[in-house]
Protein backbone atom coordinates (compact mmCIF):
# COMPACT_ATOMS: atom_id res chain seq x y z
CA UNK A 1 0.00 0.00 0.00
CA UNK A 2 2.80 2.38 0.96
CA UNK A 3 4.56 1.52 -2.27
CA UNK A 4 1.45 2.32 -4.30
CA UNK A 5 1.15 5.73 -2.61
CA UNK A 6 4.85 6.41 -3.23
CA UNK A 7 4.36 5.69 -6.93
CA UNK A 8 1.32 7.97 -7.09
CA UNK A 9 3.22 10.78 -5.38
CA UNK A 10 6.25 10.37 -7.62
CA UNK A 11 4.25 10.29 -10.86
CA UNK A 12 2.01 13.21 -9.82
CA UNK A 13 5.08 15.24 -8.80
CA UNK A 14 6.70 14.47 -12.15
CA UNK A 15 3.59 15.57 -14.03
CA UNK A 16 3.55 18.78 -11.97
CA UNK A 17 7.21 19.40 -12.70
CA UNK A 18 6.70 18.83 -16.39
CA UNK A 19 3.81 21.28 -16.28
CA UNK A 20 5.86 23.93 -14.44
CA UNK A 21 8.63 23.54 -17.04
CA UNK A 22 6.15 24.05 -19.88
CA UNK A 23 4.79 27.47 -18.93
CA UNK A 24 3.59 28.09 -22.47
CA UNK A 25 1.37 25.03 -22.09
CA UNK A 26 -0.22 26.62 -19.03
CA UNK A 27 -0.74 29.92 -20.85
CA UNK A 28 -2.14 28.18 -23.94
CA UNK A 29 -4.50 26.12 -21.82
CA UNK A 30 -5.89 29.34 -20.34
CA UNK A 31 -5.83 31.54 -23.44
CA UNK A 32 -7.98 29.11 -25.43
CA UNK A 33 -11.06 29.18 -23.14
CA UNK A 34 -10.54 32.85 -22.33
CA UNK A 35 -10.70 33.76 -26.03
CA UNK A 36 -13.95 31.80 -26.27
CA UNK A 37 -15.30 33.48 -23.17
CA UNK A 38 -14.28 37.05 -23.85
CA UNK A 39 -14.46 37.21 -27.64
CA UNK A 40 -16.69 34.46 -28.97
CA UNK A 41 -19.28 34.70 -26.19
CA UNK A 42 -19.41 38.48 -26.42
CA UNK A 43 -20.17 38.23 -30.12
CA UNK A 44 -22.78 35.52 -29.76
CA UNK A 45 -24.50 36.86 -26.67
CA UNK A 46 -27.18 38.62 -28.68
CA UNK A 47 -27.64 35.84 -31.23
CA UNK A 48 -28.01 32.97 -28.79
CA UNK A 49 -30.83 33.55 -26.32
CA UNK A 50 -30.81 31.24 -23.32
CA UNK A 51 -34.02 29.88 -21.90
CA UNK A 52 -34.36 28.89 -18.26
CA UNK A 53 -33.21 25.28 -18.10
CA UNK A 54 -31.87 23.36 -15.09
CA UNK A 55 -29.72 24.06 -13.17
CA UNK A 56 -30.42 27.74 -13.91
CA UNK A 57 -33.33 29.32 -12.04
CA UNK A 58 -33.29 32.52 -14.00
CA UNK A 59 -32.04 33.82 -17.32
CA UNK A 60 -28.27 33.66 -17.57
CA UNK A 61 -25.93 35.41 -19.94
CA UNK A 62 -24.29 33.41 -22.69
CA UNK A 63 -20.93 33.91 -20.96
CA UNK A 64 -22.31 32.25 -17.84
CA UNK A 65 -23.78 29.43 -19.90
CA UNK A 66 -20.53 28.47 -21.57
CA UNK A 67 -18.38 28.50 -18.41
CA UNK A 68 -18.92 24.74 -17.70
CA UNK A 69 -18.25 23.94 -21.36
CA UNK A 70 -15.00 25.88 -21.23
CA UNK A 71 -14.01 24.08 -18.02
CA UNK A 72 -14.65 20.87 -19.96
CA UNK A 73 -12.61 22.27 -22.84
CA UNK A 74 -9.60 22.67 -20.55
CA UNK A 75 -10.00 19.10 -19.31
CA UNK A 76 -10.48 17.78 -22.84
CA UNK A 77 -7.45 19.54 -24.31
CA UNK A 78 -5.33 18.60 -21.31
CA UNK A 79 -6.40 14.98 -21.58
CA UNK A 80 -5.25 14.98 -25.19
CA UNK A 81 -2.09 16.89 -24.31
CA UNK A 82 -1.19 14.24 -21.77
CA UNK A 83 -1.79 11.54 -24.36
CA UNK A 84 0.60 13.43 -26.64
CA UNK A 85 3.19 13.42 -23.86
CA UNK A 86 2.62 9.68 -23.40
CA UNK A 87 3.36 9.05 -27.06
CA UNK A 88 6.45 11.24 -26.67
CA UNK A 89 7.47 9.35 -23.51
CA UNK A 90 7.09 6.08 -25.34
CA UNK A 91 9.22 7.28 -28.24
CA UNK A 92 11.84 8.66 -25.83
CA UNK A 93 11.86 5.49 -23.74
CA UNK A 94 10.79 6.88 -20.36
CA UNK A 95 7.46 5.06 -20.64
CA UNK A 96 9.44 1.82 -20.77
CA UNK A 97 11.08 2.72 -17.49
CA UNK A 98 7.66 3.27 -15.95
CA UNK A 99 6.24 0.02 -17.29
CA UNK A 100 9.12 -2.08 -15.94
CA UNK A 101 8.27 -1.02 -12.40
CA UNK A 102 7.11 -4.00 -10.30
CA UNK A 103 3.91 -2.11 -9.42
CA UNK A 104 0.79 -3.37 -11.22
CA UNK A 105 0.57 -1.85 -14.65
CA UNK A 106 -3.02 -0.71 -14.17
CA UNK A 107 -1.94 1.25 -11.11
CA UNK A 108 0.95 2.88 -12.98
CA UNK A 109 -1.46 4.03 -15.70
CA UNK A 110 -4.04 5.21 -13.16
CA UNK A 111 -1.30 7.21 -11.39
CA UNK A 112 -0.44 8.87 -14.70
CA UNK A 113 -4.11 9.66 -15.16
CA UNK A 114 -4.56 11.10 -11.67
CA UNK A 115 -1.39 13.20 -12.04
CA UNK A 116 -2.52 14.80 -15.29
CA UNK A 117 -6.08 15.28 -13.97
CA UNK A 118 -4.81 17.20 -10.94
CA UNK A 119 -2.88 19.53 -13.25
CA UNK A 120 -6.02 20.05 -15.36
CA UNK A 121 -8.07 20.91 -12.27
CA UNK A 122 -5.50 23.50 -11.27
CA UNK A 123 -5.90 25.10 -14.69
CA UNK A 124 -9.70 25.04 -14.47
CA UNK A 125 -9.64 26.84 -11.12
CA UNK A 126 -7.24 29.45 -12.51
CA UNK A 127 -9.69 29.93 -15.39
CA UNK A 128 -12.62 30.27 -12.97
CA UNK A 129 -10.73 32.90 -10.98
CA UNK A 130 -10.01 34.90 -14.15
CA UNK A 131 -13.66 34.56 -15.21
CA UNK A 132 -14.70 35.85 -11.78
CA UNK A 133 -12.41 38.84 -12.24
CA UNK A 134 -14.42 39.62 -15.39
CA UNK A 135 -17.63 39.43 -13.36
CA UNK A 136 -18.73 35.93 -14.37
CA UNK A 137 -19.23 34.25 -11.05
CA UNK A 138 -20.89 31.10 -9.72
CA UNK A 139 -22.45 30.47 -6.31
CA UNK A 140 -19.68 30.15 -3.72
CA UNK A 141 -20.67 26.56 -2.84
CA UNK A 142 -20.38 25.69 -6.54
CA UNK A 143 -16.64 26.34 -6.53
CA UNK A 144 -16.26 23.58 -3.93
CA UNK A 145 -18.92 21.24 -5.28
CA UNK A 146 -17.40 21.32 -8.75
CA UNK A 147 -14.14 19.76 -7.55
CA UNK A 148 -15.28 16.09 -7.59
CA UNK A 149 -17.10 16.72 -10.89
CA UNK A 150 -13.90 18.10 -12.43
CA UNK A 151 -11.97 15.13 -11.07
CA UNK A 152 -14.40 12.61 -12.59
CA UNK A 153 -14.58 14.43 -15.91
CA UNK A 154 -10.78 14.80 -15.95
CA UNK A 155 -10.30 11.09 -15.32
CA UNK A 156 -12.76 10.23 -18.09
CA UNK A 157 -11.14 12.52 -20.65
CA UNK A 158 -7.63 11.57 -19.50
CA UNK A 159 -8.66 7.92 -19.88
CA UNK A 160 -9.66 8.66 -23.45
CA UNK A 161 -6.26 10.26 -24.04
CA UNK A 162 -4.51 7.28 -22.46
CA UNK A 163 -6.45 4.86 -24.65
CA UNK A 164 -5.68 6.92 -27.76
CA UNK A 165 -1.99 7.05 -26.87
CA UNK A 166 -1.83 3.27 -26.95
CA UNK A 167 -3.21 3.29 -30.50
CA UNK A 168 -1.09 6.14 -31.86
CA UNK A 169 2.20 4.67 -32.99
CA UNK A 170 3.97 7.89 -33.91
CA UNK A 171 4.00 11.44 -32.65
CA UNK A 172 3.33 12.75 -36.17
CA UNK A 173 -0.07 11.04 -36.19
CA UNK A 174 -1.23 13.15 -33.30
CA UNK A 175 -2.57 15.94 -35.51
CA UNK A 176 -5.22 13.48 -36.66
CA UNK A 177 -6.43 13.16 -33.09
CA UNK A 178 -7.05 16.89 -32.99
CA UNK A 179 -9.20 16.75 -36.11
CA UNK A 180 -11.04 13.52 -35.46
CA UNK A 181 -11.46 13.48 -31.69
CA UNK A 182 -11.11 16.82 -29.94
CA UNK A 183 -13.06 19.10 -32.29
CA UNK A 184 -16.03 16.77 -32.93
CA UNK A 185 -16.20 15.98 -29.23
CA UNK A 186 -16.21 19.64 -28.28
CA UNK A 187 -18.54 21.01 -30.95
CA UNK A 188 -20.97 18.08 -30.82
CA UNK A 189 -21.74 18.70 -27.17
CA UNK A 190 -23.67 21.07 -24.94
CA UNK A 191 -20.53 23.07 -24.23
CA UNK A 192 -21.43 26.01 -26.49
CA UNK A 193 -25.18 25.66 -26.98
CA UNK A 194 -27.94 23.82 -25.12
CA UNK A 195 -29.12 20.58 -26.68
CA UNK A 196 -32.65 21.87 -27.25
CA UNK A 197 -31.16 24.45 -29.59
CA UNK A 198 -29.33 21.72 -31.46
CA UNK A 199 -32.59 19.74 -31.73
CA UNK A 200 -34.22 22.72 -33.43
CA UNK A 201 -31.60 22.52 -36.17
CA UNK A 202 -31.17 18.76 -36.52
CA UNK A 203 -32.51 15.80 -34.59
CA UNK A 204 -29.60 13.65 -35.71
CA UNK A 205 -27.04 16.15 -34.46
CA UNK A 206 -28.97 16.41 -31.22
CA UNK A 207 -28.84 12.64 -30.78
CA UNK A 208 -25.12 12.57 -31.50
CA UNK A 209 -24.59 15.34 -28.93
CA UNK A 210 -26.70 13.45 -26.38
CA UNK A 211 -24.60 10.32 -26.97
CA UNK A 212 -21.30 12.20 -26.63
CA UNK A 213 -19.79 11.52 -23.17
CA UNK A 214 -18.27 15.00 -23.23
CA UNK A 215 -21.82 16.43 -23.17
CA UNK A 216 -22.48 14.52 -19.95
CA UNK A 217 -19.19 15.64 -18.43
CA UNK A 218 -20.09 19.26 -19.21
CA UNK A 219 -23.61 18.86 -17.76
CA UNK A 220 -22.19 17.25 -14.63
CA UNK A 221 -19.85 20.23 -14.22
CA UNK A 222 -22.68 22.68 -15.00
CA UNK A 223 -24.88 21.27 -12.23
CA UNK A 224 -21.96 20.99 -9.80
CA UNK A 225 -21.13 24.67 -10.33
CA UNK A 226 -24.60 25.37 -8.90
CA UNK A 227 -24.00 22.88 -6.06
CA UNK A 228 -26.37 20.35 -7.61
CA UNK A 229 -25.82 16.76 -8.72
CA UNK A 230 -26.88 15.55 -12.15
CA UNK A 231 -26.90 11.83 -11.42
CA UNK A 232 -27.58 10.82 -15.02
CA UNK A 233 -24.63 12.82 -16.35
CA UNK A 234 -22.43 11.54 -13.55
CA UNK A 235 -23.34 7.93 -14.30
CA UNK A 236 -22.60 8.32 -18.02
CA UNK A 237 -19.29 10.08 -17.27
CA UNK A 238 -18.26 7.29 -14.86
CA UNK A 239 -19.28 4.58 -17.31
CA UNK A 240 -17.44 6.25 -20.20
CA UNK A 241 -14.40 6.72 -17.94
CA UNK A 242 -14.36 3.03 -17.09
CA UNK A 243 -14.69 2.04 -20.74
CA UNK A 244 -11.81 4.36 -21.74
CA UNK A 245 -9.64 3.12 -18.88
CA UNK A 246 -10.37 -0.50 -19.79
CA UNK A 247 -9.42 0.29 -23.39
CA UNK A 248 -6.19 1.92 -22.21
CA UNK A 249 -5.30 -1.07 -20.03
CA UNK A 250 -6.00 -3.34 -22.97
CA UNK A 251 -3.88 -1.14 -25.22
CA UNK A 252 -0.96 -1.21 -22.79
CA UNK A 253 -1.31 -4.92 -22.06
CA UNK A 254 2.06 -6.52 -22.88
CA UNK A 255 0.26 -9.53 -24.35
CA UNK A 256 -1.54 -7.27 -26.81
CA UNK A 257 1.67 -5.49 -27.58
CA UNK A 258 0.24 -2.20 -28.81
CA UNK A 259 3.34 -0.59 -27.45
CA UNK A 260 5.42 -2.83 -29.65
CA UNK A 261 8.34 -1.48 -31.52
CA UNK A 262 10.09 -3.69 -33.95
CA UNK A 263 13.29 -4.87 -32.25
Amino acid sequence: MRGAVLVLRAIAAREALRFVRQRERFVAALVRPLVWLLVFAAGFRAALGMSIIPPYQTYVTYETYIIPGLCGMILLFNGMQSSLSLVYDREMGSMRLLLTSPMPRWWLLVCKLIGSTLISILQVYTFLVIAALFGITMPLAGYVAVLPALFLAGLMLGGLGLALSSFIQQLENFAGVMNFVIFPMFFLSSALYPLWRMAESSEILHDICAFNPFTHAVEMIRFALYAQVNFGAMAVTCAAGMVFLALALWGYDPARGMIRRKG
Partner: protein, 244 residues
Protein backbone atom coordinates in the same frame (compact mmCIF):
# COMPACT_ATOMS: atom_id res chain seq x y z
CA UNK B 1 20.45 -20.34 -8.64
CA UNK B 2 20.05 -19.09 -12.17
CA UNK B 3 19.54 -15.37 -12.61
CA UNK B 4 17.76 -15.70 -15.94
CA UNK B 5 16.11 -18.83 -17.29
CA UNK B 6 14.64 -18.37 -20.76
CA UNK B 7 12.94 -21.35 -22.35
CA UNK B 8 11.73 -21.79 -25.90
CA UNK B 9 10.95 -18.10 -26.52
CA UNK B 10 9.35 -17.25 -29.83
CA UNK B 11 7.93 -13.97 -31.00
CA UNK B 12 6.79 -12.46 -34.28
CA UNK B 13 5.75 -9.06 -35.59
CA UNK B 14 2.84 -10.04 -37.78
CA UNK B 15 4.30 -12.53 -40.23
CA UNK B 16 7.92 -11.63 -39.51
CA UNK B 17 9.47 -14.07 -37.05
CA UNK B 18 11.72 -12.10 -34.68
CA UNK B 19 12.68 -14.90 -32.26
CA UNK B 20 12.50 -18.65 -32.75
CA UNK B 21 12.71 -21.09 -29.84
CA UNK B 22 15.36 -19.15 -27.92
CA UNK B 23 16.51 -20.86 -24.69
CA UNK B 24 19.38 -19.92 -22.41
CA UNK B 25 20.41 -19.53 -18.75
CA UNK B 26 22.54 -16.87 -17.15
CA UNK B 27 23.80 -17.61 -13.64
CA UNK B 28 24.37 -15.26 -10.73
CA UNK B 29 27.83 -13.69 -10.93
CA UNK B 30 28.01 -14.25 -14.66
CA UNK B 31 28.60 -11.58 -17.30
CA UNK B 32 26.76 -12.78 -20.38
CA UNK B 33 27.17 -10.92 -23.65
CA UNK B 34 24.26 -11.16 -26.05
CA UNK B 35 25.96 -10.53 -29.35
CA UNK B 36 24.15 -10.09 -32.60
CA UNK B 37 24.06 -7.86 -35.66
CA UNK B 38 21.38 -5.20 -36.04
CA UNK B 39 17.99 -6.85 -36.44
CA UNK B 40 19.13 -10.10 -34.79
CA UNK B 41 16.30 -9.92 -32.25
CA UNK B 42 18.24 -8.53 -29.27
CA UNK B 43 15.82 -5.70 -28.54
CA UNK B 44 12.84 -8.01 -28.96
CA UNK B 45 14.41 -10.42 -26.49
CA UNK B 46 14.92 -7.48 -24.11
CA UNK B 47 11.31 -6.45 -24.47
CA UNK B 48 10.25 -9.98 -23.54
CA UNK B 49 12.65 -10.14 -20.60
CA UNK B 50 11.40 -6.79 -19.28
CA UNK B 51 7.73 -7.70 -19.89
CA UNK B 52 7.14 -4.86 -22.34
CA UNK B 53 5.85 -7.67 -24.53
CA UNK B 54 4.56 -11.05 -23.45
CA UNK B 55 5.94 -14.08 -25.21
CA UNK B 56 3.11 -16.08 -26.80
CA UNK B 57 5.33 -19.13 -26.47
CA UNK B 58 7.97 -20.07 -23.92
CA UNK B 59 8.74 -18.96 -20.39
CA UNK B 60 11.08 -16.62 -18.53
CA UNK B 61 12.20 -16.84 -14.92
CA UNK B 62 14.04 -14.02 -13.22
CA UNK B 63 15.81 -15.08 -10.04
CA UNK B 64 13.40 -18.01 -9.85
CA UNK B 65 10.21 -15.95 -10.34
CA UNK B 66 8.16 -16.68 -13.44
CA UNK B 67 7.63 -13.45 -15.38
CA UNK B 68 4.20 -14.53 -16.64
CA UNK B 69 2.70 -15.75 -13.39
CA UNK B 70 4.64 -13.66 -10.83
CA UNK B 71 5.52 -10.48 -12.75
CA UNK B 72 5.89 -8.27 -9.68
CA UNK B 73 8.35 -10.62 -8.00
CA UNK B 74 10.29 -11.04 -11.23
CA UNK B 75 10.44 -7.31 -12.09
CA UNK B 76 11.47 -6.47 -8.52
CA UNK B 77 14.63 -8.55 -9.06
CA UNK B 78 15.53 -6.85 -12.31
CA UNK B 79 17.48 -3.69 -13.11
CA UNK B 80 17.23 -2.44 -16.68
CA UNK B 81 19.27 -0.03 -18.78
CA UNK B 82 17.57 0.65 -22.09
CA UNK B 83 19.29 1.50 -25.33
CA UNK B 84 17.76 4.97 -25.38
CA UNK B 85 18.59 7.11 -22.39
CA UNK B 86 15.59 7.36 -20.08
CA UNK B 87 16.91 10.02 -17.72
CA UNK B 88 14.91 13.19 -17.30
CA UNK B 89 17.56 15.60 -18.52
CA UNK B 90 16.14 18.54 -16.58
CA UNK B 91 16.34 16.74 -13.25
CA UNK B 92 19.46 16.21 -11.17
CA UNK B 93 20.96 12.74 -11.09
CA UNK B 94 19.74 12.31 -7.52
CA UNK B 95 16.17 13.30 -8.40
CA UNK B 96 16.18 10.92 -11.36
CA UNK B 97 17.22 8.13 -9.03
CA UNK B 98 14.72 9.21 -6.41
CA UNK B 99 11.89 9.02 -8.97
CA UNK B 100 12.94 5.52 -9.94
CA UNK B 101 13.22 4.47 -6.28
CA UNK B 102 9.60 5.58 -5.80
CA UNK B 103 8.56 3.51 -8.82
CA UNK B 104 10.08 0.55 -7.00
CA UNK B 105 8.11 1.44 -3.86
CA UNK B 106 11.18 2.74 -2.02
CA UNK B 107 11.00 6.14 -0.34
CA UNK B 108 12.31 8.31 2.50
CA UNK B 109 15.61 7.63 4.20
CA UNK B 110 15.83 4.14 2.76
CA UNK B 111 15.74 5.60 -0.75
CA UNK B 112 18.37 8.23 0.13
CA UNK B 113 20.68 5.56 1.56
CA UNK B 114 20.26 3.28 -1.45
CA UNK B 115 20.79 6.16 -3.89
CA UNK B 116 24.07 7.12 -2.19
CA UNK B 117 25.22 3.49 -2.22
CA UNK B 118 24.35 3.05 -5.90
CA UNK B 119 26.09 6.30 -6.84
CA UNK B 120 29.17 5.25 -4.87
CA UNK B 121 29.22 1.94 -6.71
CA UNK B 122 29.43 3.77 -10.04
CA UNK B 123 31.72 6.57 -8.79
CA UNK B 124 28.97 9.10 -9.43
CA UNK B 125 28.45 10.54 -5.94
CA UNK B 126 30.15 13.84 -6.74
CA UNK B 127 27.88 14.35 -9.77
CA UNK B 128 24.68 13.57 -7.86
CA UNK B 129 23.35 17.12 -7.77
CA UNK B 130 24.15 17.99 -11.38
CA UNK B 131 21.42 18.06 -13.95
CA UNK B 132 21.51 14.98 -16.17
CA UNK B 133 21.67 17.35 -19.15
CA UNK B 134 25.12 18.53 -18.04
CA UNK B 135 26.61 15.02 -17.95
CA UNK B 136 28.50 13.51 -20.87
CA UNK B 137 27.23 10.31 -22.48
CA UNK B 138 29.40 8.03 -20.34
CA UNK B 139 28.29 9.60 -17.07
CA UNK B 140 24.65 9.52 -18.14
CA UNK B 141 25.00 5.80 -18.71
CA UNK B 142 26.66 5.37 -15.34
CA UNK B 143 23.81 7.28 -13.73
CA UNK B 144 21.37 4.94 -15.45
CA UNK B 145 23.23 1.89 -14.19
CA UNK B 146 23.28 3.36 -10.68
CA UNK B 147 19.54 3.88 -11.03
CA UNK B 148 19.06 0.27 -12.10
CA UNK B 149 20.86 -0.91 -8.94
CA UNK B 150 18.89 1.08 -6.34
CA UNK B 151 16.55 -1.77 -5.46
CA UNK B 152 19.38 -4.34 -5.17
CA UNK B 153 18.31 -6.43 -8.16
CA UNK B 154 19.76 -9.87 -8.73
CA UNK B 155 19.69 -9.41 -12.50
CA UNK B 156 20.95 -6.48 -14.56
CA UNK B 157 19.87 -6.17 -18.19
CA UNK B 158 21.62 -3.69 -20.48
CA UNK B 159 20.48 -3.15 -24.05
CA UNK B 160 23.39 -1.81 -26.12
CA UNK B 161 24.35 0.64 -23.38
CA UNK B 162 27.47 1.89 -25.15
CA UNK B 163 25.72 3.21 -28.26
CA UNK B 164 26.98 6.72 -28.94
CA UNK B 165 29.85 6.60 -26.42
CA UNK B 166 33.49 7.23 -27.24
CA UNK B 167 36.05 4.44 -26.84
CA UNK B 168 37.28 5.50 -23.39
CA UNK B 169 33.75 5.81 -22.02
CA UNK B 170 32.84 2.45 -23.55
CA UNK B 171 35.80 0.70 -21.99
CA UNK B 172 35.12 2.32 -18.62
CA UNK B 173 31.50 1.22 -18.69
CA UNK B 174 32.33 -2.34 -19.71
CA UNK B 175 34.85 -2.55 -16.87
CA UNK B 176 32.32 -1.20 -14.34
CA UNK B 177 29.69 -3.72 -15.31
CA UNK B 178 32.18 -6.59 -15.27
CA UNK B 179 33.05 -5.57 -11.71
CA UNK B 180 29.35 -5.72 -10.80
CA UNK B 181 29.13 -9.26 -12.21
CA UNK B 182 32.23 -10.28 -10.25
CA UNK B 183 30.45 -9.00 -7.14
CA UNK B 184 27.65 -11.52 -7.75
CA UNK B 185 25.19 -9.81 -10.09
CA UNK B 186 23.76 -11.69 -13.06
CA UNK B 187 24.43 -9.46 -16.08
CA UNK B 188 22.99 -9.72 -19.58
CA UNK B 189 24.72 -7.23 -21.87
CA UNK B 190 23.33 -6.90 -25.38
CA UNK B 191 25.73 -5.55 -27.94
CA UNK B 192 26.78 -5.75 -31.56
CA UNK B 193 30.39 -4.84 -30.76
CA UNK B 194 32.73 -7.80 -30.33
CA UNK B 195 35.40 -5.74 -28.52
CA UNK B 196 33.07 -5.46 -25.52
CA UNK B 197 33.26 -9.22 -24.95
CA UNK B 198 36.07 -10.76 -22.90
CA UNK B 199 37.33 -14.32 -23.36
CA UNK B 200 36.07 -15.32 -19.89
CA UNK B 201 32.54 -13.98 -20.54
CA UNK B 202 29.59 -16.15 -21.39
CA UNK B 203 28.58 -15.42 -24.97
CA UNK B 204 25.25 -15.93 -26.67
CA UNK B 205 25.42 -15.22 -30.36
CA UNK B 206 22.06 -14.35 -31.86
CA UNK B 207 21.18 -13.93 -35.52
CA UNK B 208 17.83 -13.77 -37.28
CA UNK B 209 16.05 -14.64 -34.07
CA UNK B 210 18.01 -17.84 -33.43
CA UNK B 211 20.88 -18.67 -31.09
CA UNK B 212 23.95 -19.56 -33.15
CA UNK B 213 26.37 -20.15 -30.29
CA UNK B 214 26.10 -20.31 -26.51
CA UNK B 215 29.25 -20.83 -24.46
CA UNK B 216 32.40 -19.18 -23.13
CA UNK B 217 33.59 -16.48 -25.50
CA UNK B 218 37.14 -17.86 -25.47
CA UNK B 219 35.90 -21.34 -26.43
CA UNK B 220 33.72 -19.99 -29.23
CA UNK B 221 36.56 -17.90 -30.64
CA UNK B 222 38.95 -20.88 -30.33
CA UNK B 223 42.04 -18.73 -30.63
CA UNK B 224 40.79 -16.70 -33.56
CA UNK B 225 39.64 -13.07 -33.38
CA UNK B 226 36.05 -13.02 -32.13
CA UNK B 227 35.08 -10.47 -34.79
CA UNK B 228 36.09 -12.89 -37.51
CA UNK B 229 34.13 -15.76 -35.95
CA UNK B 230 31.12 -13.49 -35.50
CA UNK B 231 31.18 -12.30 -39.10
CA UNK B 232 31.53 -15.85 -40.40
CA UNK B 233 28.70 -17.20 -38.29
CA UNK B 234 26.28 -14.39 -39.03
CA UNK B 235 27.19 -14.20 -42.70
CA UNK B 236 27.67 -10.47 -42.24
CA UNK B 237 31.05 -10.62 -43.93
CA UNK B 238 29.62 -11.84 -47.23
CA UNK B 239 26.76 -9.34 -46.98
CA UNK B 240 29.22 -6.51 -46.45
CA UNK B 241 31.78 -7.85 -48.92
CA UNK B 242 34.45 -8.05 -46.21
CA UNK B 243 37.46 -10.31 -46.85
CA UNK B 244 38.13 -12.50 -43.81
Amino acid sequence: MSGIEARDLSFSYGTKQALSAVSFDVAAGEFCALLGPNGAGKSTLFSLLTRLFTAPQGSIKIAGADLATRPRAALAQMGVVFQQTTLDLDLSVRRNLSYFAALQGIGGKDAARRIDAALDQLNMRERADEKARNLNGGHRRRAEIARALIHDPKVLLLDEPTVGLDVAARQGLVAHVHALAEAGLCVLWATHLTDEVRAEDRLIMLDQGRILKNGMAGDIAAGRPLTQVFLELTGAAQDAGVAL
